[in-house]
Point group: C2
Chain length 482, copies 2
């Protein structure tokens, strides 16, 4: 297709009124179809994302907030941003809680002795060093526990609750979103019912004998009881032993601790300054921290690679700088309290009105499936018009959502339009938050396709003649873990 | 096909001379095609094998020789044989070594600190409680180590050797057989070269961050150094760190111990007595023990289910008892020295001449692919004639092999003809000897098909008019682990 035709076709799609600054553009429109095609071609041919994740995970290792790995990751990110050609590369201080995993051991001790694979949930308090020995009572959901406790207040007293809630494998976050409540809130409800510890079947889709960790929370006024996750196989074993009738007793030893003092970490920030409106900012983020059980290649090494590669692709293949500034932010401590996300929103509150879009890559390394838009009215049709004809690079539907990725939630709450490339997470939760989240799990081609989609969406938003309608500002319901 | 025709066709295939006892058979030949079809139909419709494995693994748990799980497994097997309708159910004493896994921990300590997933190989000696810290030197094979040590005698001195030999995924045992030498003999060669510890990349095909254990051996006169296996992911991490240049140091803590005294275990034996030649014995075996990291559902719970279900299928669906006695043997301690196999051969040496065939099921739960025959000349064409037309139940080629399954090696050495249903092991080594070898890994349909094939082969051998030519007796090369 001749370039002139493409440019005309592209401009003709802009059915919404343009802002005054864009009505007399200082620079010619970039051919977005050709640019997107170059992004995909470059990402696929070079497949550098996989090497970026390998570099991060091998150099820093696991990088839970406040750990030495976290510190190494910050240093790595500064270097990586410079290598990607970003400007104004710097760190911004973030104070983070520091939770350290201890011994973790569980075993059925009656009617038979069989070791279980367990991990402490993030934030859990410890058992005594010798652990807890108690009978297990199994429920399938928070509601079932509440209903049974209401009927029989003694049922869970002194017991270990096992939430045996199985997660559905879905290509999107629906399976996870439906299952994860027991991880976050299970200990509180179990403690309310008098239990001495709370276990869950791991929130995940794999059968690899690997327990899945992840943040949990306590509530003021409710006793804090230890909380862990069993591997799927082990939850099923306990289920079968219970189904035989008779008591099943488990010994649980978890000795994590939360440091009294907070630790220092940082958001790492770099920019590709805009050619026309450098004061207008498109934030593209990922989180630099990971859980401690593995090197966090999928969560969120892949996201770090996607945004760093996006910056490189835009810088080297777009032909011209986009109109607006693209700001890359690698957030501190997403996993255990969103410290970096809140610190960023606070530090930049004066310029949030000039944040015209925010995107986060935090869904692994799967292929792109669609685009979610959490912004003001008309944002969806306007984005559709902008990306028309880009389906081979940015495939799937563009649809409205009220969910923002975790690190851009505080921005969304302030009214910043949030966009996301939805990725195929069908296998992501096989490894999410487990010891198996290592770089070999990433398919370089799928990561390249996700990167090209993300780069295209970023470029379109940063270079469009007009900005997108803002979201309705709203308070965040709580300062969430993930 | 009318039954009379099948019988005639079946008899017409017997091109080899029949023994005098069979020349005037006391009982009519059983319709083997119909019987095989009933075995497959019954196995598929009921799929009891999966429940048998579940019962064993839930009731006994991991069952390394001499452990409490091993003891529970013996009691379980006696009950299971009675439930399967076997006669003369009894235990035969076996003395076993008792090796107990201790702490196992490894971590890269330079140039970065990253925890590794390690497990001790079976039989390994311990490090000190604080472990060994040493530089890692990587080789890809025993030969490479020997060649490098010959060239530079100081190369491995004081170092930790990492055998980074990757196993090929194959449908048969070729991949395993080619890779496993470093597990068995790696520590000896590393010690000869002056190393302080020996690590291998796990002998397996999975990427589940699960290290694979398995027996290793020492040699008289060579220092005994600790031996472990890293998960595939961790071996690859160390490789990449080494590829950057500079020293990679690892801390290794392994504290297993071998009990000074041997422990008591047992082979569990039961029979289905023959209708015509009860003194002639077809042994069908599996091993009751497992490694300690998991409940050993594939290795060898599946084999136990295959032979127990074979007995039940023959008893309930064959229409008549076979001519000869089928003896089910669940062997003690296959994994750590073949104690049960040697004890059986010794205890029954007076009747080994009347052992007319031996089969072991010890290849997981995959579908049947063929039959291996380790017996005298003409055994292959004679078996082909016997099973002609049974391809839907007993598929694939019948071919000669000189390899007997581990527990029937001593019988084969004494001249007993050995047969085996070859199964698809394409995924078996994803889980073999890891914590992931649990019952959920078994596909009930595939296990049912393997069982029907095994039952058919057993029935054919036990009911054929003549016995198979004996193997050439030979000494065993050594008393092997597996």
């Amino acid at each position: 297709m001749p370039r002139a035709f493409v440019v005309v076709a592209f401009l003709s799609l802009l059915s919404t009124p343009v802002r005054s600054s864009a009505a007399s553009p200082k620079s010619a429109a970039v051919d977005v179809r050709a640019t997107a095609a170059r992004f995909l071609g470059g990402a696929l041919a070079e497949r550098r994302g996989h090497a970026v994740v390998t570099s991060l995970t091998d150099s820093a290792g696991p990088r839970l907030a406040g750990s030495r790995g976290d510190e190494r990751a910050v240093a790595w990110a500064v270097e990586a941003m410079r290598a990607a050609g970003l400007e104004n590369v710097h760190t911004e201080p973030v104070t983070v809680p520091r939770w350290v995993r201890g011994v973790e051991r569980a075993e059925v001790v009656a009617p038979v002795d069989i070791a279980l694979h367990v991990t402490a949930l993030g934030g859990s308090v410890a058992t005594s060093p010798d652990g807890i020995v108690a009978e297990v009572v199994e429920v399938a959901s928070l509601d079932e526990l509440k209903a049974q406790a209401a009927k029989d207040p003694a049922r869970f007293r002194g017991k270990i609750v096992l939430y045996n809630k199985s997660m559905l494998r879905t290509h999107n976050f629906e399976g996870y979103g439906t299952a994860v409540d027991v991880r976050k809130g299970g200990a509180v409800e179990a403690a309310r019912a008098g239990a001495v510890a709370s276990l869950i079947r791991s929130i995940g889709t794999g059968y690899h004998r690997l327990p899945h960790t992840g943040a949990m929370r306590y509530e003021a006024g409710v006793p804090q009881i230890p909380a862990g996750a069993l591997a799927a196989e082990d939850a099923e074993l306990v289920h079968r032993l219970l189904a035989r009738g008779g008591a099943v007793k488990v010994r649980l030893v978890l000795t994590p601790s939360l440091a009294a003092d907070k630790a220092a970490s940082a958001n790492v920030v770099g920019e590709l300054r805009g050619r026309e409106h450098p004061e207008e900012i498109v934030v593209i983020g990922a989180h630099l921290d990971s859980w401690d059980l593995a090197t966090g290649a999928l969560d969120d090494g892949a996201g770090c690679a996607i945004v760093l590669e996006t910056a490189r692709l835009v810088r080297t293949l777009a032909g011209a700088r986009p109109r607006r500034t693209i700001r890359v932010v690698l957030f501190a401590n997403e996993e255990f309290g969103l410290s970096g996300a809140f610190a960023y929103a606070e530090a930049h509150k004066a310029e949030l009105a000039r944040h015209v879009a925010a995107l986060e890559a935090d869904a692994g390394a799967g292929r792109p499936l669609g685009v979610g838009v959490a912004a003001g009215a008309d944002a969806v049709p306007r984005l559709r018009a902008l990306v028309d004809g880009l389906g081979t690079v940015l495939p799937g539907e563009i649809h409205a959502t009220d969910e923002a990725a975790a690190d851009v939630m505080p921005l969304h709450a302030a009214g910043v339009p949030v966009f996301g490339v939805e990725q195929d997470v069908s296998t992501y939760f096989d490894w999410h938050h487990t010891a198996g989240d290592t770089v070999d799990k990433i398919d370089p081609e799928e990561l390249a396709r996700a990167t090209a989609a993300f780069a295209t969406l970023t470029f379109v938003l940063a270079d469009a003649p007009t900005t997108m309608p803002r979201a309705t500002p709203h308070p965040l319901p709580w300062r969430p873990g993930k």
